[in-house]
């Protein structure tokens, strides 16, 4: 009973923590230090992120072969965008679709990661071992994950999945036939999930689940056990406790995981590149790079246009996140 009361009183007290009185009395040296600590990172950020980003936007309206001096670049208006949306639509839309598939799929993985964390947090026997096993893939970069899965799991002639699979051999790496597909009114070809991209999603799940699990484990440790006790005493079952008590108190972690998940999905590049960018697995990251990098890869305008599309996707998410975050903040 006393535990429950304490928990309740803490719940009541919680919002008050947020309203800390702001001190405006900064000394002169405080101001200098503050402006340095804000100014230096901001300058670096603007120099290395926003100026190149703006340059990309400018270049996306130009035609330049990256060979003649930059002064020779010709403005072409929206032609590069017209080219990527109508002529290279067979690149752009499948890549965007794959990125959206990734966002959706990685959210499912995040949910699985949360479930794993919840179960492991119950101090079951050997939980440290399970934790290490699930966490192990996170120390590998996605490119390395790609190499590992390509050679040991997916390989048609010698991969583990093909050895264990009872049916005929499956080409996990190269088979671009669709698992499901649908038509869009403005496209003359169907969009859909390729088999090889589905396989690649599995490899990404292998890593992403462990990553999210660790974040939630840390979060769960911070949840006051008294809260759970209280809800148990109030007669809530496991699911109700999780939904109404544990999950809400994980809110800060949920936000972090949502951001990580979306960013991971939009910036996907390395694992696709490691599998040699098979047909059906293209993502925005690879089509941007292909147009820009490489010998003779002098399609700066078109590559920049792809890049701007990706930038807009990222910005849309960031704006949504920032506005949401601040709105939530005001409510509290």
């Amino acid at each position: 009973m006393s535990a429950s009361l304490r928990a309740e009183s803490e719940l009541m007290a919680a919002p008050r923590k947020g309203r800390r009185r702001r001190s405006t009395a900064l000394t002169k040296s405080d101001k200098i230090w503050l402006s340095l600590m804000v100014g230096i990172p901001a300058t670096i950020h603007i120099l290395l992120v926003w100026i190149p980003a703006l340059a990309t936007v400018v270049l996306s309206f130009m035609e330049w072969d990256n060979l003649l001096p930059i002064g020779e670049a010709q403005p072409v208006g929206f032609r590069n965008y017209w080219v990527i949306f109508t002529i290279f639509d067979t690149n752009l839309f499948p890549a965007m679709f794959n990125n959206f598939m990734l966002v959706a799929f990685l959210f499912v993985c995040s949910a699985v990661g949360m479930l794993f964390a919840y179960l492991l947090d119950k101090n079951i026997r050997g939980s440290a071992i399970y934790q290490s096993i699930y966490y192990f893939p996170v120390v590998l970069s996605l490119a390395v994950v790609g190499f590992i899965w390509k050679s040991t799991m997916f390989s048609r002639d010698s991969g583990l999945l093909n050895t264990l699979w009872p049916g005929g051999r499956i080409d996990f790496v190269g088979d671009s036939t669709k698992v499901f597909q649908f038509d869009l009114p403005f496209l003359d070809f169907p969009l859909g999930l390729s088999r090889n991209f589905a396989a690649l999603l599995l490899a990404m799940a292998w890593r992403h689940i462990g990553y999210v699990m660790v974040l939630y484990l840390a979060g769960l440790k911070a949840v006051d056990p008294g809260l759970r006790e209280a809800s148990a005493i109030d007669g809530a079952n496991e699911v109700q406790t999780f939904r109404n008590v544990v999950f809400p108190s994980l809110k800060p972690i949920n936000v972090v995981v949502a951001v990580i998940t979306v960013i991971e999905a939009l910036r996907a590049y390395d694992i696709v590149a490691a599998l040699n960018e098979q047909r059906g697995t293209e993502v925005m990251g690879t089509i941007v790079t292909n147009a820009l990098v490489g010998e003779g890869g002098g399609r700066v305008g078109i590559g920049s246009a792809y890049g701007v599309v990706l930038l807009l996707l990222c910005l849309a998410f960031i704006i949504w996140y920032v506005t949401n975050h601040y709105r939530e903040g005001e409510k509290a």
Binding site: R156, T177, R279, G296, V300, L311
Partner: protein, 454 residues
């Protein structure tokens, strides 16, 4: 920036090696560094435009030979691996021209070539074919027709060194050849004859299938291996000139002649190893080595897949024949042989020195000196010492030396971005769904219009 556009290997990456395998995991892994940067919201503007690392791989001391009266010159080299680097130093010394060699890691060199070529060394290492012609047409490399007057190299090499304006811009150094590789012992055991025409080739495939052997090893991971098949069927069906104009962007991909290439290709598909798209060329090579498959159209670098210590018997057992004739009008007159060599800067600091160096590098002496150090390549120059060649090198040398036309490979004979982004994808789609070829060719033609072929 080493993010790699998939491309056919350069002879300087693979030779006809008998000396163990060289793998490119490292290079591919290097791509991830660029990946992290580029993928982050895609806000990088001009990837790959960072200045080439001219300071990257050290400064070899200038060759000490007296240089006559041509003065000293500079040479930008992508011969960055240990053996090629030593070989190149020996070759330069053999020319007797005082030269400062700037060696740059070959991946960086190729990735940043667009930037480098704007302020290059006097002489620069590069590749024959479109990759050379594109730069020649933009006027960033120099005309060296007068050097060719003194070179002793075959007509095929001269054609491969000629720009669109009919002048020469390139001096070949060495090459490897593409052909249909097979295991001699398998052919002897089963009594197979080398086919010289299409009907014979198909008949041999049928016979192999009846014997329980998959006739054709097939890989397409990376998108380049099957470009070789397209090139060979195209040159046998429509001739070398059509290949050049098709690659140069002046023929339509919806033309019946292109369609015919894929129609002929469909005759072969039933004999392919299944699921070519996801298979690495090394896995297909292993199938050939294990005699699970009978034939493999690939470059001579095939032998580098086998370990010189434990699989020397396989290496010695591999031979190749030129792709069989399809149209008697063209016979077997063209062979695919990517060539590495040299170009000259548009305005070299020391033009006489640069040309003297190019003359020297195009001679038998230089390549002999090179091969003495790195005996994994085949010399372009006539009169080079062939005594140390193994059977495969000897055959490549004979076939290429007598070929009327030498093509460079699809991704070297056209805009590399067009090759990998458009044609390579169409070929991969064709392999997974051969019936869709009409639509694929229409897409290629539509996308081709966005490239400016030089």
């Amino acid at each position: 920036m080493t993010a790699q556009t998939p491309g056919s290997p350069s002879p300087s990456e693979f030779g006809i090696s008998l000396f163990g395998r060289r793998r490119f995991i490292a290079g591919a892994a290097g791509a991830t560094g660029a990946a992290a940067v580029l993928a982050a919201c895609g806000s990088d503007d001009d990837g790959g435009a960072s200045s080439p690392a001219t300071d990257a791989a050290g400064d070899d001391p200038p060759a000490t030979e007296p240089s006559g009266d041509v003065g000293s010159t500079t040479f930008g080299s992508n011969y960055s691996d240990e053996k090629p680097r030593a070989g190149m130093a020996a070759a330069i010394e053999a020319t007797g021209v005082a030269t400062e060699i700037n060696t740059i890691d070959h991946n960086s060199y190729q990735e940043n070539f667009n930037t480098y070529v704007q302020q290059p060394d006097d002489v620069l290492a590069w590749f024959a074919g479109y990759r050379m012609r594109a730069f020649a047409a933009k006027g960033v490399v120099g005309d060296i027709s007068d050097v060719w007057a003194d070179l002793d190299q075959s007509e095929g090499f001269k054609n491969a060194s000629t720009g669109r304006d009919g002048k020469q811009y390139f001096v070949p150094f060495y090459f490897y050849a593409w052909g249909v590789h097979y295991r001699k012992s398998l052919f002897e055991e089963k009594g197979y004859e080398i086919p010289t025409d299409w009907a014979g080739f198909i008949a041999l495939c049928e016979q192999m299938e009846a014997d329980g052997i998959t006739p054709i090893s097939a890989a397409n991971d990376g998108g380049w291996p099957q470009m070789g098949m397209f090139d060979m069927i195209n040159m046998r069906t429509n001739g070398y000139d059509f290949h050049v104009s098709l690659m140069g962007g002046s023929e339509s991909w919806t033309d019946d002649r292109v369609k015919q290439v894929f129609t002929n290709w469909m005759d072969l598909l039933p004999f392919y190893q299944p699921d070519a798209n996801g298979r690495e060329w090394q896995a297909a090579a292993n199938s050939l080595g294990a005699k699970e498959t009978g034939m493999y159209l690939i470059g001579n670098f095939l032998t580098s897949n086998f370990d010189a210590e434990t699989q020397q018997d396989i290496i010695d057992d591999i031979d190749f024949f030129p792709f069989p004739e399809i149209d008697p009008a063209y016979g077997q007159d063209a062979i695919e042989a990517p060539i590495d060599g040299f170009m000259m800067a548009a305005s070299p600091a020391n033009e006489d020195g640069a040309k003297a160096l190019l003359r020297g590098l195009g001679s038998a002496d230089a390549i002999n000196a090179y091969i003495a150090v790195d005996p994994s390549v085949v010399a372009a120059a006539n009169g080079a010492d062939t005594a140390s060649y193994n059977a495969l090198q000897q055959k490549a040398s004979d076939l290429v030396g007598s070929a009327k036309f030498i093509s460079q490979f699809l991704d070297r004979d056209t805009d590399p971005a067009f090759a990998s982004e458009v044609v390579g994808k169409a070929i991969a789609d064709f392999l997974s769904d051969p019936g869709s070829i009409d639509g694929l060719l229409a897409t290629v033609e539509e996308q081709k219009a966005t490239f400016t072929f030089e």
